[in-house]
C-alpha cells in the first residue's frame, strides 16, 4: 500500500485537534485527582486545577476514605470494596454464562420465537434501569433479597444479559460457519463444535462483553442506592454518595473515593487490552 505522508500543516492541525480532545476528556479527571490530593479541597473556580504547591499535597483524603487509623471504618471500607468486586464479577460471569449459549443459538439456529425474542430484548434496552426500580424493590423484598449481594447480582445480570446477548450474537455471526462445519466433518458434535471452535474464536468478544457487564455493575449507583439500606451492604458508588451531604460536602474524600473506584476498572482495561484488540479469528478463513 502506498502511504501518503501528511504535510506539516496537516500534522499540526491533527495534533491540535487530538490534544484538545484529550484535554477535554482529561480535564474533569485532573480536577478529581487534584481534589483528592489537595489539603484545602479547593473547589473554587480555577481554570487549571493543579495543587497550589508541595505543601498543599496530602494523602489524608485517601486515609479518610479507606479508614486508615480507624479499624472500624477500615473494616467497613474493605467490606464495601469486596461487595463491589463480588457483585461486579458475579454480574459479569452470570451475564456471560447466560448470554453466550443464548447468543450462539440466536446466531446459528432458526426457531419459533427467535425474532420476537430478539425484539423483546431490544425493547428492554429502551427503558432506563431506574424505571424498574420500584418493581425490582418489591420483587427483591418478596424474595428476601433486599440488602444482599445476590439480590443486586440478580438485578444487574437481568439488565446486562440482553445487551450481552446482542453483542455476542454479533460476534458469533461474524465467525464463519465453515469453522464449525469443518469441526463437525472432523468428528465433532454440534456441542463440541461450539465449545472447541466457536467459543475460542469468540473469546475477545466474550472478554469485552464481560468487561462491559463488570463496569456497568461496578459504576451503577441508583439501583444500588435503592436496594441497599445497610451500610455494610453498600457498594462503592453508594459509599461515594455518602460524602455528599445535604448541607456540606466532603469534596476531598469524595474525589479520593472516585479515584479509588476508578483504579480497578483501569487495571482491568490494562490487563485485557491485548484480548480486546486482538482479532483472534484473523487467518482462520481466507483474507
Amino acid at each position: 500500500m502506498n502511504e501518503r505522508k501528511p504535510g506539516l500543516l496537516e500534522t499540526i492541525l491533527v495534533h491540535t485537534v487530538l490534544v484538545a480532545a484529550v484535554a477535554y476528556a482529561l480535564y474533569p479527571v485532573l480536577w478529581v485527582v487534584t481534589l483528592a490530593l489537595s489539603k484545602t479541597g479547593g473547589t473554587e473556580a480555577r481554570v487549571l486545577p493543579l495543587p497550589r504547591g508541595a505543601e498543599d499535597l496530602t494523602l489524608d483524603n485517601f486515609r479518610l476514605v479507606t479508614g486508615v487509623g480507624d479499624p472500624e471504618k477500615g473494616w467497613l471500607f474493605a467490606r464495601q470494596l469486596v461487595n463491589s468486586l463480588v457483585v461486579s464479577c458475579a454480574t459479569a460471569l452470570t451475564a456471560v454464562a447466560i448470554a453466550t449459549p443464548a447468543a450462539y443459538a440466536l446466531a446459528r439456529f432458526d426457531f419459533v420465537g427467535k425474532r420476537t425474542g430478539l425484539r423483546g430484548m431490544l425493547l428492554t434496552q429502551m427503558f432506563p434501569g431506574v424505571a424498574s426500580a420500584v418493581p425490582l424493590y418489591l420483587i427483591l423484598d418478596a424474595l428476601h433479597l433486599l440488602d444482599t449481594r445476590s439480590g443486586l447480582v440478580l438485578v444487574y445480570a437481568a439488565t446486562a444479559v440482553p445487551f450481552a446477548i446482542f453483542q455476542l450474537r454479533g460476534a458469533f455471526l461474524a465467525i464463519p460457519v465453515d469453522l464449525e462445519e469443518a469441526a463437525m466433518v472432523d468428528g465433532a458434535t454440534r456441542v463440541q463444535a461450539f465449545l472447541k471452535v466457536a467459543l475460542p474464536a469468540a473469546r475477545p468478544a466474550i472478554a469485552v462483553t464481560a468487561l462491559f457487564a463488570f463496569m456497568s455493575a461496578w459504576n451503577e449507583f441508583i439501583l444500588a442506592a435503592t436496594l441497599l439500606g445497610r451500610e455494610s451492604a453498600f457498594t462503592l458508588p453508594v459509599v461515594l454518595q455518602s460524602y455528599v451531604g445535604e448541607y456540606s460536602t466532603q469534596w476531598g474524600a469524595f474525589a479520593a473515593g472516585a479515584v479509588l473506584v476508578s483504579v480497578p476498572v483501569m487495571a482491568l482495561f490494562y490487563v485485557a487490552q491485548r484480548q480486546l484488540l486482538s482479532g483472534l479469528t484473523a487467518g482462520g478463513v481466507k483474507g
Partner: protein
Amino acid sequence: MSEAPHRHAGSSALRAAETPVPEPAERKLRCAARGIEKSFGATKILRGVDLEIPEGTFAVLVGPSGCGKSTLLRLVAGLEQADKGTITLAGRDVTNLPPRDRDVAMVFQSYALYPHLTVRENLAFGLKLRGTPAAEIESRIREASAMLGLEKLMDRLPKQLSGGQRQRVAMGRAIVRRPTIFLFDEPLSNLDAALRAEVRVEIRRLHDRLGATTLYVTHDQVEAMTLADSLWVLNGGLVEQKGPPLEIYERPRTKFVATFLGSPQMNLVAGKLSKEGGAFWAEGGGVRTRVDEERFGDALVEGREVTIGVRPHDLCLAKGDAPIVAELKVEIVEALGSEAFAHGWIRSSGPTFVARLDAADARSVRPGSAIPLAAAPSAIHLFDAKTDRALGD
C-alpha cells in the same frame, strides 16, 4: 489407500463417441447418490441427481453458480439433509447420518482452519476427537506434513500463514484423517492464478499418491478438465452430462455443455442442413461447412434447423485450396505469444465469433481486415435448434 490411480482422461475422442460413459464396473463404488432432491424454501436446487464415484476416482462436479454442485457436495458431507434420495459411502447408507459418522474429510473454499489452534493442532483436531492414540496422531501428522512441506510451519497460527500455506494445511487436515472420500469445495478460488496452477497439480499428485477417492467441486472449467477422471456437468439442478473430461469436451451432448467447457467458448450460429452432391452441409449466419456424415448418421435430414458449433481451437486460417468455412471480420487480435485469438463477427448482426490462429499467421492479421477460416468437418458440432441437444447422440 494403496490402489493405483486410474485415469480416463486420455481416452480417444472417437472411441469415446462410440461407447457409453465407461463406468469401471470392476471397481467398487466408493460414493453413490441416488435420486437426490433438495430445495431451500421454494427454490429447487437439486432435481433428482444420481452420482457414482468408483474407488480411486477423481470426480469433479462442475457447473455455473447456482447449479447445485456445492449443495450436492454438502449433502455427501452431511452438512445438509436431502429432501429425497439416498447417499451411500463405501456401501454404507449414510443418508441420515451426521457428518462426524460419515468418515469424510472436506477442504473448504475458505480453508476453515481453526484460528486459535496451531498448524499441528489443526491437523490433530479430528484425530483427537476420534480418540486416535497419540503416537498414531504424531506419525500421521509427520507423514502429512512431510508430504505437504509443512514441517517448518507446525507451530504457527493460521493468521501467520500465506494463502497457499493455509491451503496446504487444509489439505493436510484432510489427509491425516484417511477418510473414505475427500471432498473439495472450490479449494483454489482464493489463490492467485500462478499459485492456483501449482496447487492444482499438487492436488492431483496427492490424489494419485494416496490412491484416494475424491469429489471436487469447481466452477472453473480448466480445473475440471485437468483434474477429473470423471467429470459431472451440472446445470439447473440436474446432471447435464457425465464422463471423462476429454470425451465431454469433444462430444458435448447439449449446447450448454458445449459452451460451458472450453475457453474461449464454442462459436454458435443458427443454420440449416442441406444436401449437395450427395454430401450434407450446414449453412447459416455466414458459415457454410460440410458435416461428418458418419458421426451424425440418421440425424442429418435436409432442411432441418440446427445450431452449428465450432470451437475457436478447431478453426484456422484457410490456406491453399482448403474449403473456406467462414470469413471473419476481425475486430481484435489477442496475441498470447504461442497462439493468438482473433475476435470479430461473420455477419455484423450475428454473434461474436472467435478463431484461434497460429502466432505466425496472426502477425499479418490486422483489426478491420477479413480473414478466411477453415475447419475439418469432424470438428463441426450440430445441435437441434429446438431442444439444444447434440445431433447424433
